[in-house]
Amino acid sequence: MISDETLIRDYLEGDSRAIENLIQRYQSPLWYYARGVSWYKDKSFIDEIIQLTLTAIIKGIQDGEFSLSRTEPFKSWAYQVCQNICWNENKKYARQPKHISQMYPEELPDHLTRIRPAERDYHNLSDELDKVLTELSQEERQLISLVIQNKTYKVIQKIQPFHKYSLEMLRQKVCRLRRLMIQLRKEARNGDKKK
């Protein structure tokens, strides 16, 4: 795989495809990271953060704020830019009046949060989950797909084949599915270690 630094060097020498490759490499990991750092999980809010982040990164490369002679790797610098923008946008958004429908679950108190290095290892996590999803039944995959699309239990209950379940039963299914997926992730990781 071509290194980040090589892509940046190529971009500065006039190869516009290099910047396209760099952005495509980082767009999902930065989005995942921003979602973890942000106080608000609204997708359009995260999209805005990523747009600001990528613009700041490209400008930083062009203006020499990120220089190839730095000891800090590009990845660390890019995540730091993202984090700073997240914090600024969080504060701005917090000051805006919101309708009750935009209120999210309360944020965890500080003592329950921690910096998770794995948050920055998006591609490995993504590969791990691809394997986990192949182990699920079709109904389980459909259910998790609806949940990640932010469909509530009431909405899911109206979709085939879930209309046969009560809301409480759906809740139980999602909880069991959560535990199953985490178990499968652990097994996949242990399987990789043995190899």
């Binding site: 910047i19 999980k41 679950p105 329950l112 794995a118 989950l129 990640i148 932010n150």
Partner: protein
């Protein structure tokens, strides 16, 4: 903060823990959230469960989000803008910003000439290096800038080249001093 797990106690919170991450508030009231947080303050296992589920859910949401056509379109538009923006480089080296590199030293040269009248170009470069920490090359570029704008003139006396500020520029300086 971690206490040995009481499985029966933890079971009461598993459904709420799942819903907290997915954001489904159908069953999860604010009161239940607070009780969940209070439990996780004491139970390390449930904290780990929460982090694992947040990690898993976060990756799944990210993957799903980036398969959407409108997201791909938006990203392609953004990439297109970056690709079409001119890269300020010449053979891998960044092009310097004229305003920062020459405009600012030109101001220092202007003020120096306004105060001191005729100055040898080499002396000007040495003095501004000492007082304003300006590179001698940039001082000379700045002199060129002022000459081009007819704000300064050059003259020769014996072997030395002198620079001096134009009359109208000196008057501007004097007016500013009043």
């Amino acid at each position: 903060m971690g206490i040995k797990r009481n499985k029966a106690e933890c079971e009461k919170y598993q459904l709420d823990l799942t819903d907290y991450v997915t954001g489904d508030m159908t069953f999860l009231t604010k009161q239940k959230q607070r009780k969940l947080f209070e439990h996780m303050r004491k139970c390390q296992t449930c904290r780990q469960d929460l982090f694992d589920w947040e990690e898993t859910f976060g990756v799944l949401v990210t993957k799903e989000h980036h398969t959407r056509p409108e997201v791909k379109k938006r990203m392609n538009t953004l990439i297109g803008q970056f690709k079409s923006a001119p890269v300020k480089t010449i053979k891998g080296k960044p092009v310097l910003d004229n305003e920062a590199e020459i405009g600012t030293p030109a101001g220092a040269v202007w003020r120096y000439l306004a105060k001191n009248g005729w100055v040898k170009v080499n002396d000007l470069a040495k003095n501004l290096r000492r007082t304003d920490k300006i590179d001698p090359d940039k001082t000379k570029f700045a002199v060129g800038w002022l000459l081009r704008e007819n704000k300064a003139y050059l003259t020769k006396k014996k072997q030395d080249t002198y620079v001096y500020l134009a009359e109208h520029e000196r008057r501007i300086y004097q007016q500013k001093q009043m």
